[in-house]
C-alpha cells in the first residue's frame, strides 16, 4: 500500500506534476463529475432505448395471474363511443356529431387519456366527406399541442396528400432546375479557369454558354415534372369537379394538355426523322402518322409541327413505295434467250433428276477441297463454282487422265484470275444457281457436266443471265 513516504521517494518533478493535477481544478471532483455525467449519459441512452426495446424479462410476467377485471368505461369513453356510432352513419355536416364531440370534451376528466379529444376531433373531421375540407380541418388540428405522434404523423400525411400542392411543387422543380443549370453554366467555367489565372475564362465561359443555350433546343414543351404536375391536376379535377378552384385548375390542365400533345408529337416526329435516316420508311410512316393523330385534338395549334409530320409522312410513303418496288424487282425474272433455251432446259432437267450427293462426300472443311489430291468433295457454298468444277473433275475415276488433270489444274488457275479478266468466268460466277449447282452434281452425272459445259459455251454468246 503506497504511503506518503513512499510517494515522496519518487522523482520530484513527477510528484509535482501529479500533485499539480491532483490539486488542480480538474482533479477528483472533475473525475467524479465526468464519471457522473457519463453514467447519466449511459443511463439516459439506455433508458431511451429501453423504451423502444423491452427487456426479455418483463416484470408483469413475474406477477401472479389474476382474474381479468372488466373495464368500466368512463363517461368520456361512453361519449366517444356515441360519437363513433354517429360518425359512422353521419352525412356531411351533421350537427349531432358536433354535439357528440362537445359531449366528449365536457365529460373528459383528468383520469382519461389525453389523446381522446384529438382522436375524437379527427373522427369528427372525417365526416365532412370532402377531402379538401378534411385537409383544412387536419391542418387546424395539427397545430394543437400535445398530439400523439402517431396521430400527428397521420395528419401530416393527410395534409401533404394534396394534388394541387404537389403539382405546384413539381412546377417549382422546373424553375429550380433552370436556375441550377444557369448557375452551373457560369460558375463551372469560372471555377475551372481559376487554375489558369482566368486566362482561359473567356473561352470556357463562351463554350459553356453556347452549350447552355443549345440545350434549350432539345427542351421539350412539357418537361417530365410538368407531366407529373399535369397528371396530379387531372386527378384533382376528376375527383373534385365542383371545387371552387376547379375552373382555374381546368384552365391549367387544358394548357398543359396542348403542351403534352406537342411533346409526344415532337418525339414521334424526331423518331420519324431518325427512321428515315436509317432507312426504315415503314417505321417513319408509323411515327409520323401517330404524330399527326396526337395533334388532331388541337387543330388551332402546332401548325408547323403538323406540317413537319405531314412532310415526313409523304417522304416515308415515297421511300416505302421505292423500297417495295425494289423488293418486288428482286423477285422478277427475265425471259430466257432463244439461243440458250434448249441447253438450259437440258441442264435443268439434268439437275432436277440428278440424285443428291451422299452426306459423307461433303468435305469437313473447305480447305481440304482446295488440295489437288484431296478426296472427292462437293463445294457447299454457292460462290465457289471453280472448286466444285475442279472436284467434280477429280471425282470421276474413269476420267482421271493426265489431260483431265491438266484441265482441272487449268481450271484452278482460271478461277484465280480476276472476274473481269475472263468473260466466261464472270458469266459462270454470276450464275450460281446454274453453273455452280450443275458442277456440284456433275461428278455423279457426266451428262450434267457436259450440259454445264454447253451452257458455259452458250453464254459466251448470249450475255443474258440464266433465270434458273
Amino acid at each position: 500500500m503506497p504511503t506518503a513516504t513512499t510517494a515522496e521517494n519518487r522523482d520530484p518533478s513527477e510528484r509535482s506534476i501529479r500533485t499539480g493535477i491532483a490539486s488542480g481544478p480538474f482533479p477528483r471532483v472533475g473525475s467524479a463529475l465526468l464519471l457522473l455525467v457519463l453514467l447519466v449519459a449511459l443511463g439516459g441512452s439506455t433508458g431511451c432505448s429501453m423504451r423502444l426495446r423491452r427487456a426479455v424479462v418483463v416484470d408483469d410476467l413475474l406477477e401472479p395471474l389474476g382474474s381479468d377485471t372488466t373495464h368500466l368505461p368512463s363517461p368520456a369513453e361512453l361519449a366517444a363511443a356515441r360519437l363513433a356510432r354517429l360518425a359512422l352513419v353521419a352525412t356531411e355536416a351533421d350537427p349531432a356529431v358536433d354535439a357528440a364531440l362537445a359531449n366528449v370534451a365536457e365529460t373528459r376528466k383528468p383520469g382519461d387519456s389525453k389523446h381522446l379529444l384529438p382522436l375524437a376531433t379527427d373522427l369528427r373531421n372525417t365526416t365532412t366527406g370532402d377531402p379538401i375540407a378534411y385537409r383544412e380541418a387536419s391542418r387546424a388540428l395539427r397545430k394543437k399541442r400535445g398530439i400523439d405522434p402517431r396521430l400527428a404523423s397521420r395528419l401530416d400525411e393527410a395534409i401533404a396528400d394534396d394534388p394541387l400542392k404537389l403539382a405546384r411543387r413539381r412546377r417549382r422543380d422546373d424553375w429550380h432546375r433552370l436556375f441550377a443549370r444557369t448557375f452551373n453554366s457560369i460558375a463551372e467555367p469560372l471555377g475551372q479557369s481559376v487554375i489558369t489565372g482566368f486566362i482561359l475564362a473567356p473561352f470556357t465561359l463562351t463554350n459553356s454558354l453556347i452549350h447552355y443555350f443549345a440545350e434549350f433546343s432539345n427542351a421539350e414543351p412539357l418537361s417530365q415534372t410538368g407531366r407529373q404536375a399535369l397528371v396530379l391536376r387531372q386527378e384533382f379535377l376528376a375527383a373534385h369537379p365542383d371545387s371552387p378552384v376547379a375552373p382555374e385548375v381546368g384552365r391549367l390542365v387544358a394548357r398543359d394538355e396542348i403542351r403534352h400533345a406537342r411533346t409526344l408529337a415532337l418525339r414521334r416526329v424526331r423518331a420519324a426523322e431518325q427512321a428515315i435516316g436509317q432507312g426504315q420508311p415503314a417505321l417513319a410512316l408509323h411515327q409520323s402518322r401517330t404524330a399527326s393523330q396526337l395533334l388532331e385534338p388541337h387543330p388551332g395549334a402546332h401548325d408547323r409541327l403538323r406540317r413537319r409530320a405531314a412532310r415526313l409522312e409523304n417522304e416515308a410513303l415515297e421511300s416505302l413505295e421505292r423500297r417495295n418496288h425494289l423488293l418486288a424487282r428482286a423477285l422478277e425474272a427475265n425471259a430466257t434467250h432463244e439461243a440458250t433455251r434448249a441447253s438450259e432446259r437440258a441442264l435443268a432437267t439434268a439437275l432436277l433428276v440428278a440424285p443428291s450427293p451422299p452426306a459423307a462426300s461433303i468435305p469437313s472443311s473447305p480447305a481440304t477441297a482446295r488440295l489437288p489430291d484431296a478426296p472427292v468433295a462437293v463445294a457447299s457454298d454457292s460462290c465457289a463454282p471453280s472448286r466444285s468444277t475442279k472436284t467434280a473433275t477429280k471425282s470421276l475415276p474413269g476420267e482421271r487422265s493426265p489431260r483431265s488433270r491438266a484441265r482441272a489444274h487449268q481450271t484452278t488457275r482460271w478461277r484465280a484470275t480476276p472476274v473481269s479478266s475472263s468473260r466466261t468466268t464472270g458469266r459462270i460466277r454470276t450464275t450460281p444457281s446454274g453453273a455452280c449447282a450443275a458442277a456440284a452434281v456433275a461428278k455423279r452425272w457426266p451428262s450434267g457436266w457436259r450440259a454445264s459445259g454447253s451452257l458455259a459455251r452458250a453464254t459466251r454468246t448470249s450475255r443474258r443471265l440464266s433465270p434458273i
Binding site: P12, S13, S16, I17, G20, I21, G24, F26, G30, L33, L34, L38, A41, G44, S45, C48, S49, R51, L52, T70, H71, L72, L78, A81, L83, A84, R85, A87, L88, V89, T91, E92, S113, H115, L116, L119, D122, L123, T126, G129, D148, P149, R150, L151, A152, S153, R154, E157, R227, L230, V231, E235, A238, P281, A282, L283, L285, H286, N324, L327
Partner: protein, 358 residues
C-alpha cells in the same frame, strides 16, 4: 521546470474539463435527438391505440368512389379497408378486457361491415350489419339498410360463373361449355345489379339524406350513396367474367374468337370511366397480340397462304392499343404496355420485310 508544468496543468485543467463536458453534452444531445427522431419516425408504425383511430381512418374513406379511382392505401401501402379490418380485429383481441363491457361492440361490428363490403365479402358484411343493428339503436337504420344492400349484392354475384383460382389444391373444375346459358346467367346478374344501382342513384339524386328515423329498416334517410360504386364494380366484374369466359371457350365454339373479341371490346367501351379502363385496353391489346401470334403459328409468314393484310390488321390493332395505354402518365399499366409493345415488335422481326413493313 516542475512549477511551470504544474502551472500549465492548472491552466489547462479547467478548459479540458469544459471541453469534455461540452463533448458529453453534445453526445447526450445527439443521442437524445436520435432517439426522439427514431421515435417520431416509428410513431406512424405504432400499434393502433384505440377504436376511434381505426374508425376515423375507415370513415374517411367510406365515401370514396372506388369504381373510378383506385382504393386508398395507408402509409404502409396496404389497402385501407383491409388494413382497417385487420386493426379492428387486433384491437378486439388485444383490448378484450377493456372492451368486455361491450360499449364499443356495435361500433366495431358496424365498422367491420363497412370494411368487409369493400373487400367483396358481402355475406359477412351483412351479418356484421345485422349484429350491429341488434346492438345499437343509433346504428340500426343504417345497419339494416346496409345489410339489405349487401345481401342483394351477394345474391346477385352468386348468379352465374365466377373467376376461379387457376391453381387450386384440389384441381380446377371444368368450365361448362354452354355459352348461351352462361351469358344468360351473367346478364341476369347484371340486371339485378343494375336495378339496385338505379334505386341507389334515385336515392342519391334526392336532396341531402334526412336524419335517420328511429327503427327505420327500409333504408329511407340513410346514406347509401357509396354502394353505387360497389355495385358498379360488380357490374364491371360480371362483364369481365363474361369476356374471360368467351376467351376460354373460343376454341371449342364456332366463331369463338370473334365473340371473345367483341366481349373484350364491350368491356372496354362500357367501362371507360372505370379505374380499370387501361387494364381493359391492355387486355384487348394482349388479345390482338395473341391472335397475331396464333396466326403466325398457323400460317407461317414464308408460306403461300400467309396474308400480310390480315396479319397487319391484327398487329396494328395491338400496337395502337399498347401505344394508347403507354401514353398515360402515372399509371402502372404504362410500364406494362410499353414492355408488351417491345416484345410484340420483336416478334415481327422474324417476318420477311416484304410481308410486314417494319
Amino acid at each position: 521546470m516542475s512549477g511551470r508544468v504544474s502551472a500549465l496543468a492548472a491552466r489547462l485543467a479547467p478548459s479540458t474539463s469544459a471541453s469534455m463536458a461540452l463533448a458529453i453534452f453534445v453526445l447526450l444531445a445527439s443521442t437524445g435527438c436520435q432517439t426522439f427522431s427514431a421515435r417520431q419516425k416509428e410513431a406512424v408504425y405504432g400499434p393502433t391505440e384505440g377504436v376511434l383511430e381505426a374508425v376515423a381512418v375507415l370513415r374517411r374513406h367510406v365515401p370514396d368512389d372506388t369504381y373510378r379511382f383506385p382504393p386508398a392505401r395507408d402509409f404502409s401501402g396496404r389497402n385501407v379497408y383491409r388494413a382497417s379490418l385487420l386493426r379492428l380485429e387486433n384491437l378486439e383481441r388485444a383490448e378484450a378486457a377493456a372492451l368486455r363491457s361491450g360499449y364499443m361492440d356495435a361500433v366495431i361490428t358496424f365498422a367491420k361491415g363497412r370494411a368487409l363490403e369493400r373487400l367483396r365479402a358481402f355475406d359477412l358484411a351483412a351479418q356484421h350489419y345485422r349484429e350491429s343493428a341488434r346492438l345499437s339503436d343509433e346504428l340500426r337504420p343504417a345497419a339494416l339498410a346496409s345489410a339489405e344492400v349487401c345481401e342483394r349484392i351477394d345474391r346477385a354475384v352468386k348468379i352465374g360463373i365466377e373467376l376461379v383460382d387457376p391453381v387450386p389444391e384440389g384441381g380446377t373444375p371444368a368450365r361448362p361449355i354452354d355459352p348461351e346459358g352462361v351469358r344468360r346467367a351473367l346478364d341476369e346478374r347484371v340486371t339485378q345489379l343494375s336495378i339496385l344501382l338505379g334505386e341507389l342513384n334515385d336515392a342519391a339524386g334526392e336532396d341531402a339524406p334526412r336524419k335517420p328515423a328511429e327503427g327505420a329498416g327500409d333504408g329511407s334517410g340513410v346514406d347509401r350513396r357509396h354502394y353505387r360504386w360497389i355495385v358498379q364494380e360488380e357490374i364491371e366484374r360480371a362483364d369481365v367474367v363474361r369476356a374471360r369466359y368467351a376467351i376460354e371457350i373460343r376454341h371449342v365454339v364456332p366463331d369463338g374468337t370473334l365473340v371473345a373479341l367483341q366481349e373484350l371490346q364491350r368491356v372496354a367501351t362500357r367501362h371507360g370511366a372505370s379505374k380499370n379502363r387501361l387494364r381493359h385496353l391492355l387486355r384487348l391489346g394482349d388479345f390482338y397480340a395473341d391472335l397475331a401470334r396464333e396466326y403466325l403459328d398457323a400460317v407461317p409468314p414464308e408460306s403461300l397462304t400467309f396474308d400480310p393484310a390480315r396479319f397487319r390488321e391484327l398487329a396494328d390493332a395491338a400496337i395502337q392499343l399498347y401505344e394508347l395505354v403507354g401514353s398515360h402518365d402515372g399509371r402502372p399499366e404504362k410500364l406494362e404496355a410499353t414492355r408488351n409493345l417491345e416484345a410484340f415488335l420483336a416478334l415481327t422481326l422474324t417476318i420477311d420485310a416484304d410481308r410486314y413493313d417494319r
